[in-house]
Symmetry: C2
Subunit: 253 residues, 2 copies
DNA sequence: TGACTTAGATGCATCATGCATTTATCTTCC
DNA sequence: GGAAGATAAATGCATGATGCATCTAAGTCA
């Protein structure tokens, strides 16, 4: 996102106004960020959840999140929360949508700027030590297409994890947005290691979209896009003909 | 957007926690909404701008906006601002993106949840009395595609209107989003009167996309979509063969 | 009445997609 | 060592969408 128009020169009068400005003259809401850290493992869409150890919604599962600091940009707050709670840095991270229903948090008015982040499963497993209050939960999407309605989270033992606040709705919006962006943005690569086969890329796309894709058409489309290039290497340890390994090529503008 | 998970039953302990919660324990930013009210007139994308009569950025042109109230949903605040400053209600209105760079407002930390609204030009001209501090400015997009970089605003006398705060960047994001949604969302109809010709619809699409479209392909695609239906009426007062008037049909789910 | 303009239909070449078929290349089992 | 089983990867073809050219229709205006 592009910000930072150069500041105009300010008059003496305007500087006086700014010096006298009292921001506390009217009530302010709390502003937080929540981050849905998404990965694909075993051809299924997953998200990192943390069990709340405080009221409200104690015991329920939530996205990593926290209140923003007054001198901190929104994406910087999201990156901070992600590093603190998930131990990951330098991942694809984008603002998603801002949730601000007056009653979404029982404490007080909390507006949350939801973000989503993508990371390869291998990176996440490496960074996330096993803690009982963390789960890489499967996202179960009870709708087709781009409706964006709430989703459910299921852990590895097929137990549903009750979600805190409106995080089921936030995750529904995450899935909706990812499905919408997958076609024209190079998202799939963010979920894969540096080298990958076209089948792995297709499985990632299918996990995000929640439907099967035609293999030949997918291959032709990806190869024609110029987004991948063959490495000359082949995958190993498979019980069939090994596929060629590709890597992502940043698109020329 | 789907919110409002039914609230879980709260324990006595949790209710005590909530009663004792002190939201003022840490500093809060200000939260505002800004609304880009977009229309298409003379095959050009336009936006309603208001000249600021207060510091900061006095004299510069800004989107309608205002601080949110503590008991008010974000889209309700956007609708309130739109009714107050533009006199329009019941228009297509959607959240766009949240802008929160720490220095985007010189007064204090102001995070703004930007929205965009679409309205037919005829409706807007009817609702907007002529005021010297209002302009329906042309949006000049100095980039192609979906880059989303800042844009410029030009009034009817070809005078550039300097934009307040980061509103040039907000408007750039508006154009980016509209271009992205136009294909798969029924946006064009929001910018047209109830009955319209396919040429008018195409001109709206071209104004949003900033490029010419193939006429035959556009006609076939729209007619095949099932989103429009012929009314049997024809346009009047044109110096050539009159085109059939169509109306929008809400898509069956 | 004819010039002018745009609407709207038709035909065709091109390209993307879905599907079936064939061959290639690996592991595992006998 | 060879056959079975799996998937990779290429090829061919039918189908549908798109871009483009052409032709006719239906208005206004001089």
């Amino acid at each position: 996102m592009s910000h930072g128009d150069k500041q105009p020169k300010r008059s003496r009068e305007e500087r006086d106004f700014l010096a006298a400005y009292d921001a506390s003259a009217f009530p302010h809401p709390s502003v937080a960020v929540d981050v849905a850290l998404i990965t694909v493992e075993d051809a299924e869409l997953r998200v990192l959840l943390i069990q709340r150890d405080e009221h409200p919604d104690l015991g329920r599962w939530s996205l990593p999140g926290g209140f923003i600091q007054l001198d901190e940009a929104l994406d910087a707050a999201a990156a901070r929360v992600l590093a603190r709670d998930a131990g990951v840095t330098d991942v694809w991270l984008e603002q998603l949508y801002t949730f601000g229903e007056p009653d979404r948090d029982p404490r007080t008015r909390v507006i949350t700027v939801a973000h989503h982040a993508l990371v390869p499963a291998a990176t996440l497993r490496r960074g996330t030590e096993e803690r009982s209050d963390r789960r890489l939960a499967r996202i179960v999407v009870p709708w087709k297409g781009d409706r964006g309605e709430p989703v459910r989270a299921i852990d590895e033992d097929d137990v549903e994890l009750p979600l805190a606040f409106d995080h089921a709705a936030i995750l529904g919006t995450v899935v909706q947005r990812l499905r919408g962006k997958l076609d024209y943005a190079a998202l799939g690569f963010e979920l894969l290691p540096k080298r990958f086969t076209l089948r792995e890329l297709q499985e990632v796309h299918e996990a995000v979209l929640g439907r099967r894709l035609n293999k030949d058409s997918f291959r032709r489309r990806i190869l024609a896009s110029g987004l991948v290039t063959a490495t000359g290497q082949k995958e190993a340890d498979v019980v069939h003909r090994p596929a060629e390994l590709f890597r992502f090529v940043r698109r020329r503008r």
